[in-house]
Subunit: 96 residues, 5 copies
């Protein structure tokens, strides 16, 4: 799963049926120190009520659909809100 | 899902049967500010009537086929036309 | 699907059974202007009689097998020969 | 499978049900010499009792779920603790 | 499929059951000229008796399991030993 920060959201009126009513958040992958990685940001369906600037875990492809609905056209889903990240035994992130 | 801009289209007469009659658009992944990311452009099947320069969401692999047809040789599909992108609470893109 | 140029071919005598008799072409992903992208070249099974230097579309993973055979160990297949690429309303590639 | 080093761990209270009780480790892909590659770190479910700084193999997507549970929203799993890496006939890593 | 060179091997005693008895080789993706690409090296299960320094084809995800066993936690498999690579009609690699 990617560790990522929620940076924004997307609104789309014209969409395929399976996306109807899904919360579409923009996420930026980060490393263990909270810095953005080289991976570009992308859009994931939120399943855990994540808010702006929160650090989350994002599952991809079928793993995403297992958290949303097996038959919908979704390939990324936010599956956890991160409380703490520890790197080398030291907390590098702690949710406020 | 990738957030991407429609930059062009592709015509192919010689193709496998499952691609017959599909609208093949060229898309360039962008970030929340609308700038191209490092990801290269690629071809996606359009499911929502997207036009040139529009910002769209693209689903991949099985998610793409769930929006097109489960048994066709398609690995990317445009599943939404984006109306607005908000980053850090500020609109960075608004469809005209 | 990747848009790519056929740059060569590969011969392999020792291979798993499902690859037997498959045309194995080397392809280089390109952008809408025909320039190589940062993606490295890779090997795809040809399904459309593509020739050297032709611009093609390549499908990946299960999409590739849907164009070849659902149960073979293939993860990339050439599924179309591109006639034209249009970017911003202008032809950037036209098959000769 | 990626060869990677365990660099840390993640705690998440709010998560989808399938992640409940899973050990979530942060891993950094490395090359045969033990140096970090350009791939960013990510989170994988541990299946083998891996510890901090250990070199491990990580399987992805369905391969990860085959090591965890076929129906959970997991897309990366640690499936082996590496004892030795040999490159060009020379040991470049040996677990202590 | 990736075209890659076998650069080494990995030994792991502690692993999930499906990896038991599998030959785990380290491979480095290369381009048509035999030069390493930007893709990092990774570990693949050997199905064809590949040796050190040989050029091989590697299949990924389900394609890999179709060459190994559909239900094992493997996401990359060596499926062919390359005899020759031709680029632009000229042999750039020939197995000795």
């Amino acid at each position: 799963m990617d560790i990522a920060r929620v940076t924004g959201s997307v609104v789309a009126t014209t969409k395929t049926p399976g996306l109807s009513g899904r919360a579409l958040l923009l996420v930026q992958p980060i490393d263990g120190s909270g810095e953005p990685t080289d991976l570009p940001s992308y859009v994931a369906v939120d399943r855990v009520g994540a808010g702006l600037d929160e650090v989350v875990l994002v599952a991809h492809h079928r793993a995403a659909r297992l958290a949303v609905d097996a038959d919908v056209e979704v390939d990324a889903a936010i599956v956890a809100i991160v409380d703490t990240v520890d790197v080398a035994g030291r907390a590098t992130y702690r949710k406020e």
